[in-house]
Amino acid sequence: MVVRMPSTTVTTGLPQRLLRNLSRVTGDEKHDAAAHSTLDVLWVLYSRVLRLTPESGRDRFLLSKGHGPASYYAVLATIGVIPEEWLDDLAGFSSPLGHHPDRMLVPGVEISSGSLGHGLPIAVGLAHGVALAPRAAGSGDVHVLVGDAELDEGSNHEAIALAGRWRLDRLRCVVVDNDSASLGWPGGIARRFEVEGWSSAHADAADHGALHRALTQPATGPHVTVVRTARKGS
C-alpha cells in the first residue's frame, strides 16, 4: 500500500524533500545499508505517530541503533527540527551531526547512541519514570528503535523482561529486522518479547499503512513492532 501525501513519490511513499535530504547527508557514509533500513519507519513515526508538542507531554523517540543515522538526520531536517544545511557536513569537525547521534549536540535527539544495547534499558526507565514523576499527568509514550542484530546484546533482554513485568503501557519498541544478526533469531524476533508479556505486530517497511497500524496498535503493557526491511547489503 502506498500512502499518498503531498509531494510524495508514487513508488516509495516518501516525500521528495526527505529523499533529497537523505542524498544530501549520505555520500560515502559508512553504514549506508543500515541507514536506509530505518528510513521508512522513521518517516512514519515522525510524520504520523509521534506527538512532539507540547514539549512537556511529548512522545519520546529513542534511536538505540545509532549506527547509520543518515535517515534520522534527514527526517529531523525534513520536519524542521534541525537546519537542512547541517546535512552537508556529516561528521565534520564543526558539525553537530556525527556518525552516531549526540543528544547534547542535536535538537530533538532524546538519547546519544552508538554502542548497542543501551536505548531499550533507558527507555524502560523513562517509561517507568514518566508514570512515577510528580508531573506525570499528560506525559506521552516512549518509542525506542533497535536493530535485529542489536538484540544480540544481553542488556536488551534484561530490559525486555523488566518492561513485561512492569506492564509498561507507554513503552513501544520497534525492531528493524534487516536479517543482520549473525546467528539469527530462530523462531522469530517477536517471540522473545511475547514470552515476556509484550503484544506484537509485524509490518513491511514499504507498507506505510501497515506500519502505521502496527505502531499505533492499542496495547495494554509494552508493545513491539517488528519491521521487515531489505536484507543488509541487498
Binding site: I111, P121, G125, L126, A127, H128, P134, E158
Partner: protein, 289 residues
C-alpha cells in the same frame, strides 16, 4: 553505615517525591511496602546493566535516582552504562555502594572492588565520597538528594571513632612539625593509632574527588613529605594530590590497597594488615623516611 543509608534513604523517599531508589536485588527491596514510597523503590532483579539504564531513564523523567548495590556490581559490571547512560547522556545519579575494597574479605575477589574510585575518577563530572562514619553517610545522602550532580558514595563496614563535617575539606586533626599524613575515609581509624607519639601532622577528608586542593596545599606549607593513606587501590588519589601540590618540592607517597590479587579470606582487619594499612604498617611507611 549500610543501615544508616537505608534509614536515611527511607526518610528521603518519604519527604522528596522526586527521589527514587534503584536496586538489583541487594539492599532494602521491601522499603516502603504498602505505602506510596514503594513505587519509587525500583528493584530490577539481578540485572545490573538495566539497573543503570533504568536509572538514566528515571533521571530523564525528572527523578533523582539513587542506585545501590555491592561495589563490583554497581561500578565494574555496568561500567559502560555509567559512562554512556549517565555521563554521556548528561544524566545524573547518586551511586551508593557497599563492600568497599575488602569488607567482604571472606567472600573473595568477586565481592571486592578496590578499583571503584579510580574507575569513577576516570569519568568526567563525578565526585566521590568515602565516609568514615554513619553520621557522615547520613549527611552525604541528604546533601546528594538536594543536589543535581553525579556522585559516588562508597560505604564501608569499617569506620572511624568519630565523625566530621562532610564539607569536602581537608581537615587538620592534629598538628606536628614532621611529615603530614592525609587519611581518606575509613583509613583514618588506623592512621590515628599510627601517629600516636610521633611529631607528624594528621589530616582527614571524606571526599577524595574532588580533593580540597587549597586545604591540602595549606597542610603542606613548609613541609617536605606527605603520606596519603587510601582505603582503595593505591595511587587512586594521586592525580588530585599531585595537581594540588603542583610546583612544590615534596616527597609524596601513597599507602593503599595493592594491585596484586590476594587469594586469602579471613576478615577485613586481616586485609588491612596485609596491605600495610594498619597502624603498624603506616608507622613503618613513615619510618621509611
Amino acid at each position: 553505615m549500610r543501615q544508616r543509608f537505608y534509614d536515611t534513604i527511607a526518610d528521603v523517599l518519604a519527604t522528596d517525591p522526586q527521589a527514587a531508589l534503584v536496586l538489583a536485588d541487594i539492599g532494602p527491596v521491601g522499603l516502603g511496602r504498602g505505602t506510596a514510597v514503594a513505587q519509587r523503590v525500583v528493584n530490577v532483579g539481578i540485572r545490573e546493566q538495566a539497573m543503570i539504564g533504568v536509572a538514566s531513564g528515571l533521571a530523564m523523567a525528572g527523578l533523582r535516582p539513587f542506585v545501590h548495590s555491592y561495589a563490583p556490581f554497581l561500578i565494574e559490571r555496568p561500567y559502560e552504562q555509567i559512562k554512556l547512560d549517565l555521563s554521556h547522556q548528561g544524566q545524573a545519579a547518586v551511586l551508593v555502594s557497599i563492600g568497599a575494597s575488602f569488607d567482604a574479605a571472606s567472600e573473595g575477589r568477586t565481592h571486592q572492588s578496590p578499583a571503584d574510585v579510580a574507575l569513577i575518577g576516570a569519568l568526567p563530572g563525578w565526585s566521590a565520597h568515602t565516609p568514615g562514619h554513619p553520621d557522615e553517610v547520613e549527611a552525604l545522602v541528604r546533601a546528594a538528594a538536594a543536589s543535581h550532580d553525579s556522585q559516588y558514595l562508597r560505604l564501608s563496614s569499617q569506620a572511624n571513632p568519630e565523625s566530621f563535617p562532610t564539607d569536602g575539606a581537608v581537615r587538620v586533626l592534629r598538628d606536628g612539625r614532621g611529615p603530614a599524613v592525609l587519611a581518606i575515609g575509613p583509613a583514618l581509624a588506623q592512621a590515628l593509632l599510627a601517629v600516636e607519639g610521633l611529631d607528624v601532622a594528621l589530616a582527614y577528608t571524606s571526599t577524595p574527588l574532588p580533593l580540597d586542593a587549597a586545604g591540602l596545599a595549606r597542610l603542606m606549607a613548609g613541609r617536605k613529605r606527605l603520606l596519603v593513606v587510601e582505603p582503595y587501590l593505591e595511587g587512586t588519589t594521586a592525580p588530585e594530590v599531585m595537581a594540588a601540590l603542583a610546583g612544590r618540592s615534596a616527597r609524596v607517597e601513597f599507602a593503599g590497597v595493592r594491585r596484586a590479587e590476594v587469594r586469602r579470606y579471613g576478615g577485613p582487619a586481616d586485609h588491612v594488615r596485609l596491605h600495610g594499612l594498619d597502624a603498624h604498617g603506616i608507622r613503618r611507611r613513615l619510618a621509611g623516611g
